[in-house]
C-alpha cells in the first residue's frame, strides 16, 4: 500500500516537472554545497602552470531551455579568497604588485547577453570588473547536465572558460615573460533552481 502511494506520488511529481521547468528559470549557484569553482591557470615563466582558485563567491544564473537568449549570470567574487596553495605567493598576488585586494577586494561579472551556438552550447557575454577595471568579455559555455537531484531540488550545471589579458585589467606583467601576460579563467557552476 505504502509502495503504491509512493509510486503514485513519484508519477505525479514527474508529470509536474515540465510545467515547473518552463516557469522557473532562476538558479542560485550552489556555493554552499561547494559544487561551484572559479579557477585560473597562468604560466610560470613558460615552464609550467600555476593553478589557483577563488574560494569565496556568490551568484545567480538564469537558464530557461525554452528561452535561451534570456540566459544570464551574475557573480560577485571575494578576490581576497584567492589561493594557489602557497601562502606567500598568494599574499604577493594579492598585494599592490598585482591584484591590490586592499583597494579592490571584489570582482564582479554581469552578463549582457547570450548567444546559443549549438546543442547545449553558447557564448555568454558580459562585463568583468577586476582590479577596478571593467572589460567586456565573452565566454563559451556548455550545459553539462540538468535534472532532479536526490534531495528534492532541480539542478543544472555549466562550465566555461576564457582568456584574460592581464594588462586589460591594469595589472602590469611587463617584468615577466610573454607567456605570463594572460591567464585562462575556468568556471563550473551547479545551479539550484529557485
Amino acid at each position: 500500500m505504502i509502495k503504491k502511494t509512493a509510486i503514485a506520488t513519484a508519477l505525479a511529481a514527474a508529470a509536474l516537472v515540465p510545467l515547473t521547468q518552463a516557469q522557473a528559470a532562476e538558479y542560485a549557484i550552489d556555493t554552499e554545497g561547494q559544487h561551484a569553482f572559479i579557477q585560473f591557470k597562468i604560466s610560470h615563466l613558460g615552464f609550467s602552470y600555476i593553478l589557483g582558485s577563488f574560494e569565496d563567491f556568490s551568484g545567480s544564473l538564469r537558464y530557461d531551455p525554452e528561452n535561451l537568449e534570456d540566459s544570464a549570470a551574475n557573480l560577485e567574487v571575494d578576490v581576497t579568497s584567492l589561493t594557489s596553495n602557497h601562502a606567500e605567493r598568494d599574499k604577493h598576488i594579492k598585494s599592490d604588485d598585482f591584484l591590490d585586494t586592499g583597494e579592490y577586494p571584489t570582482a564582479t561579472f554581469t552578463s549582457t547577453g547570450f548567444t546559443p551556438s549549438g546543442d547545449n552550447e553558447g557564448v555568454m557575454s558580459g562585463e568583468l570588473t577586476l582590479h577596478g577595471e571593467t572589460n567586456a568579455i565573452e565566454m563559451p559555455v556548455t550545459l553539462l547536465g540538468e535534472g532532479e537531484d536526490p534531495w528534492g531540488n532541480y539542478r543544472a550545471g555549466f562550465e566555461g572558460s576564457t582568456i584574460l589579458v592581464l594588462e586589460d585589467y591594469g595589472i602590469d606583467m611587463s617584468q615577466f615573460p610573454e607567456a605570463m601576460h594572460e591567464l585562462e579563467l575556468y568556471v563550473t557552476f551547479e545551479g539550484i533552481r529557485q
Partner: protein, 184 residues
Amino acid sequence: MWKNTRHGWGLASILLHWLGALAIIGLFALGWWMTGLDYYDRWYNLGPWWHRSVGMLLLLATLVRLGWRFVQPTPEAKGHRLERVAAHLGHLGLYVSMLVVLVSGYLISTAEGQGIDVFDAFEVPALISGLSNQATLAGQVHWYSALALILLSVGHALAALKHHWVDRNDVLTRMVDPRRSRRP
C-alpha cells in the same frame, strides 16, 4: 655566572639579549631588502628562506628568554621614579612587539597550512591557518610591529647610552659583563 641576581645579568640572559639584538637587526634589514627584490634576483627565494629560518629560531629563543626572565631575578632598575616607570613600559613594549612580529611572521607563511622549513633541518608545523585573508593581514601586522620594535630598540639603545655616559651607572655594563651579577 649563568644566573641573574638583583645586581646584574647572568651569562644566559646576556647571550639571549645580544643574540636577539643581532637577529632582530639582521632580520629587519634582510626583510626590508628582500621584499624589494626583483623576481629574477638570485636572492628572491633564498632571502625569505634565511628570513624564515632565522625568524623561527629567534621565536624559539625568545620563548626561552621570556621563560628565563620569569623564573630568574631581574636586576633592579635605576634612575628617577619616572625613568624607572618608562624603562619598565619600554621593556614591556619590546617584549610585546618581539612576540607580535615573530608570531605574525609565522602566520604569514603558515596561512595556507604549510609548515615553515628551518635551514632544511626541521619543519615548524602550521598551527593556525585558513583565517580569512590571513597572510595579507598578518603581513600588515608583521610590518608595523617590526617598525615599532626597531623604534623601541633605538630608544632602548639611547637610554642605555644615557645611563652609561650621563648617569655613569652600570646599567649597560651589567648587560655585557656577567661578573657584575656576583657582586653583593
